[in-house]
C-alpha cells in the first residue's frame, strides 16, 4: 500500500476519532453513567496511538500514550473523572488535532512551537495520574502493572521482569516447502535478545492421518526480552512475512492490545484465558494456580474451557475482573465495528460531485430525447424515453442520496462550543440536540456550520440571561440552548432556540430607528421587528463581548443562508426565549421543478413550493381571487418582471405555499413538471432576488428558476428586503 495514502487515511481517521473523543468527553458530565463515555474516549485515544505507531509518529504516540494511561486509570476506576480533567482532556484533544493538522500539512515530526504546550499538558496529565497512584497503592501490585508505565520512552527504559515484547507467530503452511525453517528464525530472533518464554500453538494440526509432513502447522507465542525496536524485530521475519501472520506487541502494552491479539488470532474462539496467560497478562505461576483449580484437564477443543479458565483466574484474583470484562467487551465491540465497516466505504467527495454533475447532464440529455420523441410522434420512442426518464429520475435520487449526511455530526460539534462559551461567559448553559438523524446534502452541511455557530453564540451571549437574573425571574439557573432539525416540504428546517430573556421589541425598534434602518412612523408587525436583527449594522447588546455584539453576526448569518437558497426567521416571546428558524433546501444540485411560461420566457418554480394550479379568475378590479372561500392574493409575473406583450386568453394561477403563507402567481401557460439541474447564475445577477438560478431545458434554452421566498417577500412589500430598498 502506498504509504502516503495510508497516512491520509490515518489523518482522516484520527480527526474522526478526536471528534468522537470530544463528544464523549462532553457527554460525560451530562450522562450519569460515565463508563460508556470513558470507554469511547479510551478507544479513540488508543486507536490513534496504535495507528500513529504504525507510521512511527513518535511525538503523537508519546503524547497519546500519557493520555491513554490516564484514561486507563479512569476506566479502571482508580482515578475519578472530574470537571478539571475533562477540560484538560479537551485541551489534549485540541493539541492532538493540532498535531494531526500539522501532519496533514506534511510535518512528520513534533512541531517545536507547540512542544511547550504539549509538555504542559503532559505534566498536568501526570499530576492527575500520580494522585491515582497514591489513592490506590494496592492496585500497583496487580500483575498488569499497566499504570506503572512511566510513559514516553517505551524502548530504552528499564523494564520490570514481566515487561517483554510479545510476538505472535503463525507460520504459513508452505513455509517449509519454500525452503524456510521456522527454527532458524527463532534462532536468529534470539540474537536480538532473549526468548523468555515460548508456547507452541499446535491447534491447526490436523489428525495424524490427514497431516502432510511437508506442511507447517505450527504457531508460536513468544515472550521476548530485547532492547531492539519494533522494526528490527519485525525485520527478523522479513522473508516470511508475506505468508505468515506476525503480530508484535511492545512491552507495557495495554490489556486491550492483547485483547486485539486474541481477537485477531485464528484460534480466537478458544482458550481466552490461556492466551491471556501467554500474553503475559498473568504469570505462569498464577496460571499454574488457576489450572490447579480447574477440575478438567485443559482441552483446547472445548469451547467452554476459556470461559472457565477466565472465570477461575478472576476468582483467584489473578486477573482483575475488569481485564476479562474489557476483553469480552472489546471483542464484542470490535466485531460490531467490523460489521459496520464492511457495510460502508469511504469515497472521495469529488467523485460524488462528478457523479452528480454527470447525472445532471444525463437529465438534460434525457429531457432532450424526450422532447424529440414527442416531436416526431413515434410511440415506441416515446415509450422508450419515458422508461428512460423514470430510470434517470431514480438514478438522480440515488446519486443525491449518496451525498446526504446526517446533521448529527454538525450538531454535536456544538456540545464543545456550548461548553467552552458557557465557561467563557461564566454562565451555566446546556445544549439539547434533537433531530440529529435528519439528512441533508453534504455541501449544505459544510456551509451551514458557520451561520449556526453565530446563532448559537449569539443565543448564549444575548439570549440567555446571567444565572442570578434567571433565578430572580423564576427560571432554573441553568440556561438551555436547543438545536432541532426536521424536514418540511422539501426543505430542512433547523431551529436554534434558547430559554432566555427573549427579544425586546421596543428596544429593537428604537435601535432600528436610531440607525435609520426603518422609518419611525412606520407600523411594523412583531415578526418584522424581530427580523430587523438581521439587518446589517444592527446590534442592541449594550456590552460588546468577545463573542458577539459588534453587529456583524446576524446579517452575515442571513446573507450566508440566503446564498444557500435558504431563509431565516426569528420568533420570540419576551421572558420566555427566542427561536431562530433556518430553512434550507435539501440539495443544491437538482430539484423537481414546474415550468411556466410568460410571453417567450420560461421560468421554473420549485415543485415543493407549489400547492396547486388553478384557472385564472379574479374578483372584479382586485388582484386576489376566491380559492374555495379563501382570499388568495396573486401577483402577475408579467407585471413583476416587466415582460412585454399582452397576457394570453387562458392564464393560470399557480398557488405557492411558503411556510404558512400562500400566494398566487399569474402566468400565461403551464408547461408541466421538469427535473431541474441547477446551474449557477453569474454573480452579476446577484441583485435579482427573485431568481435563484438557471437551468437548461431539453430544447437547449435557458430557463430561470424563481426564488419563491424572495418573490413573496418582494411582492408583500413588507419584508425586510423591501424595507431596506
Amino acid at each position: 500500500m502506498n504509504l502516503d495514502e495510508a497516512l491520509q487515511t490515518f489523518i482522516t481517521e484520527s480527526r474522526e476519532l478526536l471528534e468522537e473523543m470530544e463528544n464523549a468527553l462532553l457527554n460525560v458530565d451530562i450522562a450519569g453513567d460515565q463508563s460508556e463515555a470513558i470507554n469511547a474516549i479510551f478507544r479513540a485515544a488508543h486507536t490513534i496511538k496504535g495507528s500513529a505507531g504504525l507510521f512511527s509518529l513518535d511525538h503523537i504516540v508519546a503524547f497519546t500514550h500519557v493520555v491513554e494511561s490516564l484514561l486507563d486509570e479512569v476506566r479502571d476506576g482508580r482515578v475519578v473523572l472530574n470537571d478539571e480533567m475533562i477540560v484538560l482532556l479537551l485541551s489534549c484533544c485540541d493539541y492532538l488535532s493540532g498535531m494531526t493538522d500539522a501532519l496533514a500539512a506534511g510535518r512528520l515530526d513534533a512541531d517545536p512551537d507547540t512542544a511547550p504546550e504539549g509538555e504542559m499538558l503532559l505534566q498536568q496529565l501526570r499530576r492527575h495520574m500520580a494522585g491515582g497512584h497514591a489513592e490506590e497503592a494496592q492496585a500497583a501490585d496487580a500483575p498488569l502493572a499497566v499504570h506503572a508505565e512511566p510513559g514516553v520512552e517505551r524502548i530504552d527504559q528499564e523494564r520490570g521482569d514481566s515487561d517483554y515484547w510479545h510476538i505472535s507467530l503463525r507460520f504459513g503452511r508452505g513455509v517449509l516447502q519454500n525452503g524456510m525453517d521456522p527454527i532458524a528464525f527463532l534462532r536468529y530472533l534470539a540474537k536480538l535478545g532473549k526468548i523468555v518464554g515460548i508456547a507452541t500453538v499446535p491447534d491447526a494440526m490436523p489428525p495424524a492421518e490427514e497431516m502432510d509432513a511437508e506442511l507447517c502447522y505450527l504457531g508460536f507465542e513468544i515472550a521476548f526480552d530485547s532492547t531492539a525496536d519494533r522494526e528490527a524485530i519485525a525485520g527478523v521475519f522479513e522473508f516470511v512475512q508475506d505468508d505468515c501472520e506476525i503480530r508484535i506487541i511492545p512491552p507495557h502494552s495495554k490489556v486491550s492490545h492483547y485483547v486485539d491479539l486474541i481477537r485477531a488470532l485464528p484460534e480466537q474462539a478458544a482458550r481466552l484465558g490461556e492466551i491471556l496467560v501467554r500474553c503475559g497478562s498473568v504469570t505462569s505461576h498464577e496460571l499454574e494456580g488457576a489450572l490447579h483449580q480447574q477440575s478438567h484437564p485443559d482441552n483446547p477443543q472445548d469451547e467452554v474451557v476459556p470461559q472457565q479458565l477466565g472465570s477461575i483466574l478472576v476468582g483467584a484474583g489473578s486477573v482483575p475482573p475488569v481485564v476479562v470484562e474489557a476483553a469480552l467487551a472489546k471483542q464484542k465491540q470490535v466485531s460490531e465495528q467490523k460489521a459496520q465497516e464492511s457495510r460502508s466505504i469511504r469515497v472521495d467527495s469529488d467523485k460524488l460531485d462528478r457523479l452528480i454533475d454527470l447525472v445532471g447532464e444525463l437529465i438534460i440529455a434525457g429531457a432532450r430525447a424526450n422532447m424529440i420523441g414527442q416531436h416526431i410522434q413515434n410511440t415506441e420512442l416515446q415509450e422508450c424515453t419515458s422508461t428512460l426518464s423514470g430510470l434517470v429520475e431514480e438514478v438522480r435520487d440515488a446519486a443525491l442520496e449518496l451525498r446526504m449526511v446526517k446533521i448529527g455530526a454538525t450538531f454535536n460539534r456544538f456540545q464543545r462550543v456550548v461548553h467552552d462559551v458557557a465557561r467563557e461567559l461564566g454562565k451555566d448553559i446546556g445544549l439539547i440536540v434533537d433531530g440529529e438523524d435528519s439528512e441533508l446534502d453534504k455541501t449544505v452541511v459544510e456551509k451551514i456550520g458557520d451561520p449556526l455557530m453565530h446563532l448559537v453564540r449569539n443565543a448564549m451571549d444575548h439570549g440567555i440571561e446571567p444565572g442570578d437574573v434567571r433565578v430572580a425571574n423564576g427560571k432554573p439557573a441553568k440556561g438551555m440552548i436547543k438545536l432541532n432539525a426536521f424536514h418540511e416540504s422539501g426543505s430542512i428546517v433547523i431551529e436554534v432556540s434558547d430559554d432566555g430573556g427573549g427579544l425586546r421589541k421596543e428596544k429593537i425598534l428604537a435601535k432600528a430607528v436610531e440607525r435609520g434602518l426603518v422609518d419611525a412612523d412606520r407600523k411594523l408587525t412583531d415578526s418584522e421587528i424581530y427580523n430587523l436583527i438581521f439587518e446589517a449594522g444592527f446590534s442592541t447588546a449594550e456590552k460588546i463581548t468577545n463573542l458577539s455584539g459588534r453587529g456583524v453576526g446576524m446579517d452575515v448569518v442571513k446573507r450566508n443562508i440566503t446564498a444557500l437558497r435558504g431563509s431565516v426567521d426569528v420568533s420570540s416571546k419576551e421572558g420566555a426565549g427566542t427561536t431562530v428558524t433556518v430553512r434550507l433546501p435539501l440539495t443544491l444540485a437538482i430539484i423537481d421543478g414546474f415550468l411556466v411560461q410568460v410571453g417567450s420566457s420560461v421560468f421554473v418554480i420549485p415543485l415543493d413550493m407549489i400547492e396547486e394550479c388553478i384557472e385564472y379568475a379574479t374578483e372584479p378590479g382586485q388582484d386576489y381571487c376566491n380559492l374555495r372561500g379563501q382570499v388568495l392574493p396573486f401577483v402577475r409575473l408579467r407585471e413583476l418582471f416587466r415582460i412585454d406583450g399582452a397576457a394570453t386568453r387562458r392564464e393560470s394561477i399557480v398557488v405557492l405555499k411558503l411556510g404558512n403563507h400562500r400566494a398566487g402567481l399569474a402566468v400565461d401557460t403551464l408547461l408541466g413538471e421538469f427535473q431541474t439541474v441547477i446551474k449557477p447564475l453569474s454573480p452579476m445577477f446577484s441583485e435579482v432576488k427573485c431568481i435563484s438560478g438557471s437551468t437548461i431545458l431539453g430544447s437547449g434554452e435557458v430557463a430561470l428558476i424563481l426564488d419563491v421566498a424572495a418573490l413573496m417577500q418582494a411582492v408583500s412589500g413588507k419584508g425586510v428586503v423591501a424595507l431596506a430598498a
Binding site: L681, M684, F685, V702
Partner: protein
C-alpha cells in the same frame, strides 16, 4: 491569409482563422463593429465567437445585460455592448454575433466567462506597441475608463477596449440594484 476555414463561418473568416491558428500574440486584436464604429479587444481575452442564437432575458436587469445563453451546458450572461456605451441596444442583424470572452472577476477569485453582443466581427489585426496611443482624457464618445488605448490600423484609429472595465460585474450589480429599487417604488 489562409482561407481554408472560410467555409465554416461566412463572416470575419480571417479572424476565425487567426484564432484557430493559435499564433495569437499580445499585440493581436479582434476588431468588431458596433453600429458605425470600430472597436478592438485583445485576442487573449477571447475564447470563441458564436452566432447569435436563442437567449433568455433576465428580468430586473439593466438594458446592457441582454440575457443568458446556453454555452454547451454552461449558462453565460451576454452583454449588449452598445447599450453598455449608453446608446440604443443593438438590433439583431444577419452579422450579429456573440464574442465569448474571459475576464478576471472583480474580487480576484477566478475568471468569469461572458458574452459580448456585437453587430459584426471584422478581423484580427496586429498592432505594434508603437502604434498604440493612450486614450485622450476627453473627446471620445464612450467613457474614458473603458478605453485601453487607441491603435492605428491602416492609417485609421481603432479604440482598444479595456474589457475588464467594460464588463465589470460590480458595476453591473450596482446598476441592477438601482433597477430593482425602482421596481419596488
Amino acid at each position: 491569409m489562409n482561407t481554408a476555414a472560410a467555409n465554416v463561418v461566412t463572416y470575419g473568416s480571417s479572424a476565425i482563422v487567426a484564432l484557430q491558428s493559435g499564433a495569437a500574440l499580445p499585440s493581436q486584436f479582434l476588431t468588431f463593429m458596433l453600429g458605425e464604429d470600430q472597436y478592438a479587444v485583445g485576442i487573449l481575452h477571447i475564447k470563441e465567437i458564436i452566432e447569435y442564437g436563442s437567449l433568455a432575458t433576465v428580468p430586473m436587469m439593466p438594458a446592457c445585460v441582454r440575457g443568458v445563453i446556453n454555452l454547451r451546458g454552461a449558462v453565460v450572461p451576454v452583454m449588449d455592448l452598445s447599450a453598455r456605451f449608453e446608446r440604443a441596444p443593438s438590433v439583431i442583424g444577419k452579422r450579429s454575433c456573440i464574442v465569448i470572452v474571459e475576464v478576471e472577476n472583480g474580487d480576484g477569485d477566478g475568471k468569469q466567462v461572458l458574452g459580448m453582443l456585437v453587430d459584426a466581427v471584422n478581423a484580427v489585426v496586429e498592432i505594434a506597441a508603437g502604434d498604440i496611443e493612450a486614450a485622450p482624457s476627453f473627446g471620445t464618445r464612450i467613457r474614458p475608463d473603458f478605453i485601453a488605448g487607441i491603435g492605428k490600423v491602416n492609417g485609421k484609429f481603432v479604440i482598444l477596449l479595456d474589457i475588464e472595465h467594460v464588463l465589470s460585474s460590480e458595476e453591473i450589480v450596482e446598476m441592477a440594484r438601482g433597477t430593482v429599487a425602482t421596481h419596488h417604488n
